[in-house]
């Protein structure tokens, strides 16, 4: 059962990246819904296993602390709704948005990002099955260097929702441009 709202907030860990890219890992903030299994897997994949848990009120303060660094995340819609608007006041805008919806044994991924970023993500999501949060985590550095929500793509994967799923999750990348 999903319980009270909290967030796992930290920096994308180099451990989350392949060794070849880890040395040059960009500094990217990560904000994850702390109570949903898929999002926790994403947090682990981003290397946030020991990151701080915060209540919702801390979101803006954490954003200020990012001081212009890109920010990625996975969580429920309301979390992103608030975060995106707070971020806009600090000069951020969305360069990637994804909606991930479980319905009747199917997981529907709908993504918007730069045209170049999407084909590889869609292909990986098709293959990933329940590991789809790991695909998103691995794509974070690439997304953070893109510039616009210029293109859209989607795929459907046969996959039942895990017991602690929120049903509908959104993923995002916010960056100062």
């Amino acid at each position: 059962m999903i319980d009270r709202r909290s967030f796992i907030i930290g920096m994308l860990g180099a451990a989350a990246l392949p060794l070849s890219r880890a040395r040059a890992a960009p500094r990217i903030g990560v904000v994850v819904d702390g109570v949903c299994g898929d999002a926790r897997r994403y947090a682990d994949a981003c290397g946030l296993a020991r990151a701080a848990r915060r209540d919702a009120g801390a979101l803006e303060i954490e954003l200020v602390a990012l001081d212009g660094l890109p920010c990625v995340g996975l969580g429920r819609d309301s979390q992103y709704f608030v975060l995106a608007r707070l971020a806009a006041e600090h000069g951020y805008r969305a360069v990637y948005e994804g909606v991930h919806l479980y319905t009747d044994g199917v997981l529907d991924h709908r993504l918007r990002a730069a045209r170049t970023a999407l084909p590889r993500m869609i292909s990986a999501l098709r293959e990933a099955g329940p590991d789809w949060p790991l695909v998103l985590a691995a794509a974070a550095p690439r997304l953070a260097s893109t510039h616009a929500l210029a293109s859209a793509a989607h795929c459907r994967v046969a996959l039942a929702a895990p017991p602690d799923s929120a049903g509908r999750l959104v993923s995002w990348c916010l960056a100062r441009r």
Binding site: M1, R4, E60, F81, V82, G167
Partner: protein
């Protein structure tokens, strides 16, 4: 009699006047602070929770003055060219219209850049803020100063302090009634006059902000939920952080026991044992913070009574969940808790629990933070109940009586079921009234859901009027309908407001139609 209502709610601004005004504003404010046409920065100026695309009401421009001097120049230009303005503090009053205006084609006057905390007086416990200061900003500044003071933030603390007080919002600490915290306004009238109310003018510096009123008429109330002036600065009383804040909740398992619960609480409120600011929250009001219709496989219909009963069991919630907090000296708090427990003996099945037992139940942690004066954004989690959610809010006032509460609940729940929406609401405890805060949740961008919510809203308005309840606050879309309900004595109230509007803002420049008050020049007519 009905008030005037545009069939197409669009501001009629002559193109040459607008073009000339935009040129002058660019010169006065700097071109980057005047957005118009297809400027991407104009996108946020609409009602994000509009119940349908026709309610978006896109503006033609937005002005972003940085200070009072620029604001005065902007208003002077508007007056010269006859272009009306819609002032916004931060535009986060989302359930009531957000950053939208009554009409499309409006020029938005965005005061977000006027965001100075002008003063915090630690000894006498007050602050003076500009429109762009949010509760999160104020909280951060108080923390930076190691202040012992706290504000009374509303459930969503990212909005403007000034905006919340002017809309007569509601906090959750012992100082919950925001209007009672107001201590002096600085106002820029539509005719260009700048005034400070009460003792807040510089010539009364020694007593500024210490008393809400001064000599002669006390006018501050006229400038709340109104369109007579732009409020450029506001004083608010803060409170010292209490020695102890002990949040609690009281659950009752049966919906009809709302009656007994309210009857038990009223004497305690009148005697001051419990403070206004607590809320009796419906099952779904708390459940929606932590779960979703999708998870519950609710389909397209309101959650059934059986499903609600299961949900209450699973989440350890009552049919009603009264969230309150004792605050003050430790010895007093302990005594008050005993009095509440004794009073609840008359309420069937009522369970009083504190943080040690109920701290992890839905809604408790959020309410506990609010009771301690901590600004927060967790309340938005209810949006997930319907997916990518939006809400329309309707606030009505009814007597602090069990029979009135039960009747209002039953009527509104039945109306919700008839329109295919869930009943998600709470009764906020006032000193002598209950504020029935009804949140109509629907999916953003779903035209059918938006239409259902809009129809339900109108039905709820009509029902509340029939029961003799008063509407306290309404969404932009319905302000004329609400104003029409204040019709006694040939709409004497509305006519008086219109006379004030024409006197203080003779060109009708500021927020035309706000709260149903239109300026004379808009061609006011009744049929």
């Amino acid at each position: 009699m009905k008030p005037r209502r545009d069939s197409v709610p669009t501001a009629r601004i002559a193109a040459p006047s607008l073009a000339a005004a935009l040129a002058d504003w660019r010169s006065a404010l700097g071109p980057q602070w005047v957005l118009s046409g297809q400027a991407p920065g104009l996108a946020p100026y609409h009602d994000e929770f509009a119940p349908g695309p026709e309610a978006l009401r896109a503006p033609v421009a937005a002005l972003q003055p940085a200070n009072l001097k620029q604001l005065r120049r902007a208003l002077h230009i508007a007056r010269r060219h006859g272009v009306p303005l819609w002032p916004l503090a931060t535009g986060r009053n989302l359930g009531y219209g957000g950053a939208g205006a009554r009409q499309a084609g409006m020029v938005m006057l965005d005061l977000k850049r006027m965001n100075r905390i002008v003063e915090i007086n630690e000894k006498l416990a007050y602050a003076v803020v500009e429109p762009g200061v949010s509760y999160l900003d104020l909280q951060r500044e108080l923390a930076r100063r190691n202040s012992r003071l706290v504000a009374a933030p509303p459930a969503a603390g990212w909005g403007s302090v000034l905006g919340n007080l002017l809309e007569r919002g509601h906090g959750h600490t012992a100082r919950a009634e925001q209007f009672d915290n107001l201590c002096g306004l600085q106002l820029l009238l539509g005719n260009g006059t700048l005034i400070d109310t009460g003792f807040s003018a510089p010539d009364h510096g020694k007593v500024a902000r210490l008393l809400p009123w001064a000599h002669g008429p006390w006018v501050d109330g006229l400038f709340t939920q109104s369109n007579f002036a732009v409020v450029t600065r506001l004083g608010l009383w803060l409170g010292p952080a209490p020695e102890v804040v002990r949040p609690y909740r009281v659950t009752v398992a049966v919906e009809d026991d709302l009656h007994a619960l309210v009857e038990a609480l009223r004497p305690l409120l009148l005697a001051g044992v419990i403070a206004p600011g607590g809320s009796i929250v419906s099952l779904l009001g708390d459940a929606a913070l932590v779960t979703t219709r999708h998870r519950l496989k609710a389909g397209d219909q309101p959650l059934s009574r059986e499903a609600c009963a299961r949900l209450a069991r699973d989440l350890n919630l009552g049919a009603w969940n009264y969230h309150g907090a004792f605050s003050g000296a430790a010895a007093v708090v302990a005594g008050d808790a005993r009095v509440l427990r004794a009073a609840l003996e008359t309420v069937p099945g009522a369970a009083l629990e504190f943080e040690d037992r109920a701290g992890d139940t839905p809604g408790f942690a959020l309410r506990a933070r609010l009771a301690r004066g901590v600004a927060d954004t967790e309340a938005h989690a209810v949006l997930d109940w319907v997916g990518a959610g939006a809400h329309l809010d309707l606030d009505t006032s009814l007597p602090l009586r069990g029979d009135a509460a039960l009747k209002a609940f039953q009527a509104q729940r039945d109306q919700c079921e008839a329109h295919g929406l869930d009943y998600v609401a709470e009764f906020q405890l006032g000193a002598r009234d209950l504020k029935h805060r009804h949140r109509l949740l629907f999916e953003r961008g779903d035209a059918r859901a938006g239409r259902r919510a809009r129809e339900l809203y109108q039905a709820l308005l009509a029902g509340a009027a029939q029961r003799g309840e008063g509407v306290l606050r309404s969404h932009l879309e319905f302000m004329d309908e609400v104003a029409a309900h204040y019709a006694w004595n040939d709409q004497a109230w509305l006519r008086t407001c219109e006379a004030l509007k024409d006197a203080l803002d003779p060109a009708g420049l500021l927020a035309p139609g706000k709260s149903g008050v239109w300026p004379g020049r808009a061609g006011r007519k009744r049929d």
